[in-house]
């Protein structure tokens, strides 16, 4: 027997004794009972206040909670349809939130996997207004001075990313890695799992290399004998001196590291990334000030004395994750909207449920349960629903994270290997479950506590609660508004994407396959041998069955890379100040294959060989900027900007369309040089081929085979269609579009379900009234119109509020949108029509049901 029953028994004994005594004094049983009960007071209440003394405050609270939970579970079991719908709705919404949070947590929130990772910063001293956005870093001459004089770091080192071709270990393969100074490993404080990292004395010419654990495992079978043996990178034998631990790929997905030796070069300056570990007592701001002081003592750059640079110390984590942070926070916001809609839906379900439980609640009030008690009971039930949804949501989140990472653009999200379920994700989910449970349970709880019991007892379930009906309407409008905001976001992204695909890019990439190669300098030391390679390869590609055109280009459109430079023109008018252009090598046939239109003049031809007069083709905007109002054909240009030699002049023979080069979709001013006449070995060492064909897959295999025949040590890179190349540069917007669309679809579905649910309940609640109206002459059409009017009213008011929300919020997408304003009226119109349309669909079934109400219903008992 538990304490509650004991107290109850004790109190009943008291009551019986009182009755017995009154009867002993001659009162009738009825009189005695009535008087004794009045004297005793409310038995439930006395029992409760007594119990509080038995256990103390916390004990009673726990006991009541257990009781509420027991009662709540029983109540939820009685209404399985409600429980399943509510739990499933929440599970989807909480699951989606937990999935996004798992990624946000792994990528943005969790500290980097280094000792005291918040002490790691990147030093930067760069002009703030460069035409391109370089990663933070220092020019080499600045770095040498700074490395000499700085006292802020306990360890510091420069690094640059590099790529190299690994041969002799399976198929030739292009790897990304980094050149690093020993200070980088020292700053990161990550020791190798095998061998060692570089010593201070080791230089790049020592040909030593440290491998990633992944490369060691995948290409060398984790064979310890690889250490101190040699592997071939770009054809150069390199001694493996160490292997880094699994998961280490600094700065991002690196598979090998070679020593960086910084040497000043008279002609070129390089920007180096600089990683340092702050000394224990030094703040990032102090380090920044020191960098600024040291840099101020440097003599000004002789080439560009006007340049003003800014000193900065950037937390390593911000630099590694900065690019995706914006996207991830947008996702987090969008998915929170889905959760809000789910909450609104469940709140509505609870309101409807509360209406049908009015009698039950009234009975409990009459039995002495306080209003607070009833409210708490309802909150307990909604919290149970929330937690059940959360438990299921964790499962959904695990699937969701995998789906999310599957559609995420490869290589664009850093730290993906750190994305997994952990204590924080669990805590987040539990917190979200509880908060949602309380949030959507609050409204019905307040309503439930307020209902006057006598009225409820008398009217049972048929009370027409005007206030409740209005509240349900407002909730439906709210979810329509929330769904509209998400739909607008998705709509804008989709429109932007369609526009980007349809945009005139200056070339026609459909049915074009592309492949890039890097020629190792060991096997191809000069332009002659590089050009011989290109000629052999292009000959092979041209003989692939089905190939209708072939060309080569140093940096293809959508490759994300290019070489910018300046030039001089013959004659009095100079090149406009600050006008730079892309310098690109192309083969004969490139323009025809990519369908880049020739505006004037002629294409390169077989006559334009070395020794023949040097020729160039310029793009339309070059002609317009440099020779406005004149014919560009026949004009002469030179790349030797200081003192052009007499043999450096090149004649413009043609003008072609401008071509877009990256996802900004901006047309680039470009100057094209024929490969045959070029001796720029550093450009000829990298080449991209384009092949016009109708059979993508078989052509890709054939292209790879041709390359293997020409040189098996040169790996094929970026072998894909030009359409895929476009998708590749647009990977992030595509990812955002897909994810937002999924969230918007869920939101729309939930809003539709919510609208349907409320209207269906309205109709059910008003059956008798509708029947009466029909008895008084209303036609079914009138009844349908009545329900649909309410639907339109709810949807339209929701849409109006949602429009304001969308106008306020879609600005966060500005960066991701191409050629679409965040407040694009056409998108907004379509979205409003769509959401009102869906609401009408949702309202139609209840309306039809209403029109079929039998007149007799009005006169039948409930």
């Amino acid at each position: 027997m538990n304490a509650e029953d004991e107290i109850r028994e004790e109190l009943e004994t008291h009551l019986r004794a009182a009755i017995a005594e009154r009867m002993a004094h001659g009162e009738s049983r009825e009189d005695a009972e009535r008087a004794a009960r009045r004297e005793f007071g409310n038995l439930t209440h006395v029992s409760e206040v007594t119990r509080e003394q038995t256990y103390g405050a916390i004990g009673i609270w726990l006991e009541r909670l257990a009781q509420d939970v027991r009662y709540g579970l029983r109540a939820l079991r009685r209404t399985p349809a409600f429980t399943i719908t509510a739990v499933a709705t929440l599970a989807i919404a909480i699951g989606a939130n937990s999935a996004v949070f798992t990624v946000v947590n792994g990528v943005l929130l969790r500290p980097l996997p280094f000792v005291d990772a918040d002490r790691l910063v990147l030093a930067s001293y760069l002009p703030p207004d460069l035409p391109f956005e370089p990663p933070p870093g220092l020019a080499d001459r600045n770095w040498l001075a700074y490395r000499e004089h700085q006292h802020s770091f306990s360890a510091v080192g420069a690094y640059v990313r590099r790529a190299a071709t690994l041969s002799g270990a399976g198929d030739a393969f292009r790897l990304t890695g980094a050149r690093v100074e020993p200070g980088v490993f020292a700053a990161l404080q990550v020791p190798p799992i095998r061998g060692r990292t570089f010593s201070r004395e080791e230089r790049d010419v020592d040909n030593v290399v440290v491998l990633s654990s992944r490369l060691w495992h995948e290409r060398f079978g984790s064979d310890p004998r690889v250490l101190e043996s040699s592997i071939s990178l770009d054809g150069v034998p390199m001694t493996v001196i160490g292997v880094m631990p699994p998961g280490f790929g600094f700065p991002a997905e690196s598979d090998f590291w070679t020593p960086l030796t910084v040497q000043l070069n008279a002609h070129n300056s390089f920007i180096l990334s600089v990683l340092g570990r702050l000394r224990p007592a030094v703040t990032a701001e102090q380090a920044r000030a020191e960098l600024a002081v040291i840099m101020a003592q440097m003599p000004p750059d002789p080439k560009d004395p006007e340049t003003k640079a800014e000193a900065n110390m950037l937390p390593l984590k911000d630099v590694l994750t900065g690019r995706v942070a914006g996207s991830l926070y947008i996702f987090a916001g969008a998915v929170a909207f889905v959760l809000l809609i789910a909450c609104v839906n469940v709140a509505n379900l609870l309101l409807i449920r509360a209406a049908s439980r009015r009698r039950e609640m009234a009975v409990r009030v009459a039995l002495g349960a306080g209003r607070g008690r009833i409210a708490r009971q309802l909150l307990t039930e909604s919290s149970i629903v929330g937690l059940a949804g959360g438990a299921l949501g964790i499962v959904i989140a695990q699937v969701g994270v995998r789906a999310l990472l599957a559609i995420a653009p490869a290589g664009r999200i850093p730290r993906l290997d750190e994305v997994h379920l952990d204590g924080w994700v669990l805590a987040f989910t539990i917190a979200v479950s509880l908060v949602t449970g309380v949030a959507f349970g609050l409204v019905p709880a307040i309503q439930g506590g307020r209902r006057p019991p006598r009225e409820a007892m008398a009217h049972g379930t048929r009370t027409v609660g005007g206030a409740t009906t209005r509240l349900r309407g407002a909730l439906v409008a709210a979810e329509v508004a929330l769904a509209l905001v998400l739909l607008t976001g998705a709509g804008l992204m989709i429109k932007s994407f369609i526009r980007m695909r349809a945009a005139d890019k200056g070339y026609d990439g459909s049915q074009v396959m592309t492949m890039a190669v890097d020629l190792p300098s060991l096997g191809y030391p000069d332009a002659t041998r590089q050009k011989a390679f290109h000629a052999r390869l292009m000959d092979g590609l041209a003989h692939i069955p089905g190939v209708r055109g072939i060309g080569a280009i140093s940096w293809r459109p959508m490759g994300g890379v290019g070489m910018m430079g300046d030039f001089v023109v013959e004659g009095p008018s100079p090149v406009p100040h600050g006008f730079g252009l892309d310098k690109t090598l192309v083969s004969i046939g490139y323009f025809a294959t990519m369908k880049v239109r020739l505006d004037a003049g002629r294409d390169f031809s077989v006559g334009d060989v070395a020794g023949a007069p040097k020729v160039v083709i310029v793009s339309r905007s070059v002609a317009n900027r440099v020779w406005p109002g004149q014919d560009a054909i026949g004009k002469r240009v030179s790349m030797e900007t200081d003192h052009p030699g007499s043999d450096s002049w090149m004649t413009v023979i043609g003008v072609v369309n401008d071509v877009v080069q990256d996802r900004s979709m901006e047309k680039h001013a470009t100057m094209y040089f024929p490969i045959q006449q070029s001796d720029w070995g550093f450009i000829l060492g990298h080449m991209t081929y384009v092949v016009r064909t109708s059979a993508d897959a078989t052509t890709a295999r054939a292209m790879r085979a041709v390359l293997r025949d020409v040189d098996p040590t040169v790996p094929a890179q970026q072998l894909m269609s030009m359409d895929d190349a476009l998708m590749d540069v647009a990977a992030e917007p595509v990812f955002q579009t897909r994810l937002l669309s999924v969230f918007a679809a869920i939101a729309l579905l939930l809003a539709a379900i919510g609208t349907y649910g409320v209207l269906a309940y309205d109709v059910a609640e008003r059956t008798r009234e509708i029947a009466l109206r029909m008895a008084l002459g209303a036609t079914p059409a009138n009844v349908v119109a009545m329900v649909m009017r309410r639907t339109i009213l709810l949807a339209a008011s929701g849409a109006a509020v949602g429009l304001f929300g969308a106008l306020a919020l879609t600005g966060v997408l500005t960066k991701s949108l191409y050629d679409v304003s965040p407040n694009d009226p056409a998108t907004m119109l379509v979205v409003v029509l769509a959401i009102v349309g869906v609401a009408l669909l949702a309202g139609f079934a209840p309306a039809r049901r209403a029109s079929r109400v039998h007149v007799l219903t009005a006169f039948l008992a409930d």
């Binding site: 028994e9 004994t13 004794a17 007071g41 209440h45 006395v46 509080e52 003394q53």
Partner: protein, 118 residues
């Protein structure tokens, strides 16, 4: 909710505990018995509200000033009987002396001005 058992004289805060302990000095008793005895001993002037009495009994029990056990009454019913403990007895003595000090002090205040008025 009707509060039927209102005290005809308002009990001072804390005095109920003392009264209950005092009542139990004459032997173990169940809740109803205590209520009846208080009523009788105060010549019907005090009527103890059950909503105060039972919480007081359980509070005193938690403080180990009284103990309770289930017993069978003369007419065969299970009743919960309370008994004073040694600690309760000591507590009652000190409470009573505090009470006397208090009532004496109040009485002194209430009677003194009458002398000064003349």
């Amino acid at each position: 909710m009707p509060r039927s058992g209102l005290t005809r004289l308002e009990l001072l805060q804390g005095t109920l505990d003392m009264i209950v302990l005092q009542t139990l000095r004459w032997g173990p008793r169940h809740g109803y018995g205590i209520a009846q005895m208080v009523k009788a001993n105060s010549a019907n002037a005090l009527q103890v509200d059950t909503g105060s009495l039972y919480p007081a009994l359980h509070r005193l029990e938690r403080q180990k000033l009284i103990v309770a056990e289930w017993d069978t009454s003369e007419n065969g019913q299970r009743v919960r009987v309370y008994k004073l403990t040694a600690a309760g007895r000591r507590h009652l003595v000190s409470e009573k002396s505090r009470w006397e000090q208090l009532t004496n002090a109040i009485a002194a205040i209430l009677t003194e001005p009458a002398e000064g008025e003349t």
